[in-house]
């Protein structure tokens, strides 16, 4: 049975594994005999590329380096642009947020000013003073030490008024 011939070579384990595989196939042959009896052969071919040597090409190398550098520069530019672009977007969000906070604080300030105006309204203070038993200051009771009235303003001295004429 030439078909069952097995080729052995001296190349170690691969050959042995191949032989084992062939033996299996051979063992399966009786099962396939009813259909097609095709012998199967497996060949091993070895290549030796050690004689091939890459020739040096300085021009090509320089072109590659220039291309690489240009690509790196372009990439950097794109990255810088992208970075600043997204940074600008992020900053605009931040600015918008700060504007909202500013507007909020301004509105809060207005609310507080309104509250202050309501709390300092003279009618409210007057009512509270009355509740505390306080009254209107008597003439001369309040002295403005830093009077807004210009003390140098010429005034007309007043004579003591004569007694009123008798009622008619």
């Amino acid at each position: 049975m030439a078909a069952y011939a097995t080729m052995h070579d001296e190349f170690g384990r691969g050959a042995k594994r191949m032989a084992g595989h062939n033996a299996e196939l051979l063992a399966q042959q009786p099962l396939r005999r009813r259909r097609v009896r095709t012998p199967e052969f497996f060949l091993t071919k070895n290549f030796d590329n050690s004689r091939l040597v890459k020739a040096s090409d300085p021009v090509r190398l320089r072109q590659m380096r220039v291309f690489g550098a240009a690509s790196a520069a372009l990439f950097s530019l794109v990255m810088v642009y992208g970075l600043q672009h997204f940074y600008a977007i992020e900053s605009s969000y931040h600015v918008e947020q700060e504007k909202q906070i500013r507007d909020q604080l301004r509105e809060e300030n207005r609310q507080l000013r309104l509250t202050q105006a309501e709390l300092t309204q003279p009618a409210r203070i007057d009512a509270m003073a009355k509740q505390l038993g306080l009254g209107v200051p008597q003439p001369g009771q309040v002295v403005h030490a830093n009077s807004r009235f210009d003390q140098n303003t010429p005034v007309e001295a007043q004579a003591t008024p004569p007694p009123p004429p008798p009622a008619q």
Binding site: R113, G140, T160, P165
Partner: protein, 732 residues
């Protein structure tokens, strides 16, 4: 020979087929070219010819413009206290499509937002109706308080949303309500300064342009920010306004008058420091007011000034040198006949020969008529016009009337007599106060203003407060509309005569403690609109004066309309003047110029000067004058009960003795922390002793003249800060 016919047949067949195919080709080509041409033409028609139309339609479909409301400007008083300001509050609305049980939702919401029983829009029924009527939007409540908003938030109800809206607030509530006015639900000014300067206060609305898809979703938007309204600074001082309103409240409570007005004016600038009107309203709750209380009686109502108008008569005569204060006037035993009309002084008065000063002090009608007749009608009319009567003053308030003053060629023979004592003429309270200011400041008419001069703003510049400086003088360059009416000498003489009215005459209840004051009382009968005759029960009590006399700071006009009980200006209005002037001068820190009394000096028994009766001719003249007013004059539009012209007469009734508790203060309050001193009496001392005593007391002294001290200011007993300069006039 056989192939020939086949060939021929073939050729014949080809000759028949080829033209048919070409025709079909060209027909199809024509069809397609026509089709393309029609499409091209249609496209040309739509895209080129009707381009603009479709652009507009596309914008309408795809874009929505939302108006962004501007913030209304702030109204400040002269010290930059907010009188009206706008803040953001929540408005609540609902998307009815998201609400399942609308009745339950309306009930739950109404229990929170229906805080005002008179506000039907927030009732449960109304909310439910709006929820059922609207598809995607329905207001629940607009401009709610933070508490209500928080309560609705806590409901956590689906389909309820919030929108920020501007709300106008008046922190002082009723203070200067008629001056400020109020705004409606859409932020439009509806009264007072809010109405007059609505366009400037309102600002310019912004716009948000939103692009929307077919499902009405916003794709993108662009905005134009709104410009806020202009902030305005009023000449009103909030504290002076409060003092005036409180004094007016006291009188309104006592007299139960129909209405009352107090005008406080700076005599040196014409600026209104306070304009109090009663009854009043709360502009924060305009829904609860009636139309009648919204009326600004200070500029929209006129009344016959009565005896207060004698100030014009006497000052004009002094300026014309027709009289001097000492000129003796024959009062004909208080009865005079002018052009067949008998006019007399008040009941019980029988004046003979009086000096002009005394005639004014006792408010003699006959004396005023005599003075006017010495001038002549033409001159008298020119002075009346020069004081600003019969023309609009230009004050920045809406609905100002010019008053009633007929030209001299339409005067009847007795008109000069009537006008001399304040009849046949009608004025506004602001006109009256401005006239007194002109007399007090040296004779210069300064048009009244209630707005401070415009300050640059909205460009980063900050508005600065303009506190009232009582020591100021008339500006060197007179403002627009200002002019001299009477000479400085005539003004000084009038001030002295008006002081005499307060010291010895009918205005004794206007005396102040520590300050000199001048003024004139007035009591006028009103015209009964039903009978067109002077009413015997309705009167207008008024007082117009200024203080201090030595260096006037403020002018005050008090008009009380239809007081119950006593109706004389001397007993009703003069005490209001005293209360207002006293407190305002103390508040401003004006040094006392007369001696302070431990008790109020008022011990009044004012001379009884009674009404005299007007005649029907003057009444008819007044009605004619009303009919001749311009169409835009407020007097034509709303004839209210309080706007009826009134009759005047000389006035003054025995003033009831004031019930004033003796001051029991034991402490002196010093504002500013410096030491206060009592001014010693220096009268009668030689100059050397004056300097020694003043130095020992810690006071500066300015000597005028030589010899012994005759007069001093401030008066002895005044409490002044340490270092105050005392002016001493000496003589031999």
């Amino acid at each position: 020979m056989q192939p020939a016919p086949r060939t021929l047949r073939t050729r014949t067949h080809a000759a028949h087929i080829v033209p048919l195919k070409r025709a079909r080709f060209w027909v199809i080509c024509l069809f397609f070219f026509s089709w393309a041409g029609i499409i091209g033409l249609r496209l040309f028609w739509l895209q080129i010819v009707r381009h603009k139309e479709f652009v507009v339609r596309a914008e309408k479909q795809q874009q929505r413009t939302f108006e962004v409301a501007p913030r209304r400007g702030v109204l400040y008083d002269r010290n930059l206290h907010e009188l009206a300001m706008t803040v953001q509050v929540d408005s609540i609305y609902a998307d009815p499509s998201e609400i399942g049980d609308k009745k339950a939702a309306a009930q739950a919401l109404a229990t929170i937002v229906h805080t005002d029983p008179e506000d039907n829009r927030t009732s449960e029924v109304q909310i439910e109706a709006r929820l059922n009527a609207g598809r995607n939007f329905a207001w629940i409540a607009r401009r709610v308080t933070p508490a209500v908003s928080a309560a609705v938030h806590n409901l956590n109800m689906k389909g309820i949303y919030y929108q920020k809206e501007f709300q106008r607030f008046y922190p002082d509530n009723e203070i200067a309500a008629q001056v400020l006015g109020y705004v409606g639900i859409d932020d439009n000014g509806l009264g007072g300064l809010e109405e007059k300067f609505d366009s400037e206060l309102h600002g310019t609305p912004g716009h948000m342009y939103a692009a929307m898809d077919a499902r009405r979703k916003v794709l993108g938007s662009s905005e134009r920010d709104p410009s806020p309204g202009r902030n305005m600074v009023l000449s009103i001082d909030e504290n002076i306004q409060f003092l005036a309103e409180r004094a007016l409240d006291h009188t309104m409570e006592k007299t139960q008058a129909a209405n009352g007005t107090v005008v406080v004016q700076d005599v040196h600038t014409g600026q209104i420091l306070a304009l109090a009107i009663r009854p009043t309203f709360n502009p924060n709750q305009v829904r609860h007011t009636t139309q009648s209380v919204l009326r600004d009686h200070a500029v929209s109502d006129v009344y016959e000034p009565g005896s207060t108008f004698k100030l014009v008569t006497y000052s004009a005569a002094l300026d014309q040198h027709a009289i001097t204060p000492d000129t003796v006037i024959d009062c004909h035993n208080s009865v005079i006949n002018v052009a067949g009309r008998t006019i007399h002084d008040d009941k019980g008065d029988h004046f003979g020969r009086l000096s002009a000063a005394d005639a004014l002090a006792h408010s003699s009608n006959v004396g005023a008529i005599e003075v006017a007749q010495r001038m002549g009608a033409e001159h008298f009319y020119q002075y009346i016009r020069a004081y600003g009567f019969g023309t609009r003053s230009g004050i920045e308030l809406p609905g100002e009337t010019r008053g009633l003053l007929r030209p001299v060629n339409r005067w009847s023979p007795s008109s000069i007599a009537s006008i001399a004592m304040g009849q046949e003429i009608a004025v506004t309270p602001v006109q009256l106060a401005t006239m007194v200011s002109a007399i007090a400041n040296g004779g210069v008419y300064l048009p009244p203003h209630i707005l401070m001069p415009t300050q640059p703003q909205n460009n980063g510049a900050k508005i600065l407060p303009s506190p009232f400086r009582p020591g100021a003088d008339i500006p060197n360059s007179l403002p627009s509309g200002a002019h001299r009416v009477i000479s400085t000498m005539a003004s000084a003489q009038m001030r002295k005569m008006m002081e005499g009215v307060v010291l010895f005459g009918t205005g004794r209840s206007a005396q102040l403690n520590g300050y000199s004051a001048g003024g004139k009382t007035g009591t006028a009968q009103k015209i009964d609109p039903a009978t067109h005759t002077y009413s015997k029960t309705m009167h207008v009590a008024s007082f117009a004066g200024f203080a201090p006399v030595s260096n006037p700071v403020i002018a005050v006009a008090v008009i009380i309309d239809t007081p119950k009980g006593s109706y004389y200006g001397a007993s009703v209005s003069a005490p209001v003047f005293a209360e207002v002037a006293q407190q305002v001068l103390e508040y401003l820190g004006v040094p006392h110029d007369t001696e302070l009394h431990a008790t109020h000096p008022i011990n009044l028994q004012a001379a009884a000067v009674h009404e005299d009766e007007g005649d029907d001719s003057s009444i008819n003249a007044l009605y004619d004058a009303v009919n001749n007013l311009p169409s835009d004059d407020p007097l034509r539009s709303t004839p209210t009960k309080s706007a009826q012209p009134a009759s005047a007469s000389s006035n003054a009734q025995p003033a009831p003795p004031p019930v004033l508790a003796a001051p029991t203060y034991t402490k002196t309050v010093t504002i500013g922390g410096a030491k206060s001193l009592h001014v010693p009496s220096l009268t009668g001392l030689p100059v050397r002793r004056v300097i020694e005593q003043a130095g020992a007391a810690g006071l500066d002294v300015q000597i005028v003249g030589n010899g012994t001290c005759r007069q001093q200011a401030p008066a002895p007993g005044s409490i002044v800060p340490s270092g105050t300069r005392i002016v001493v006039r000496c003589g031999r």
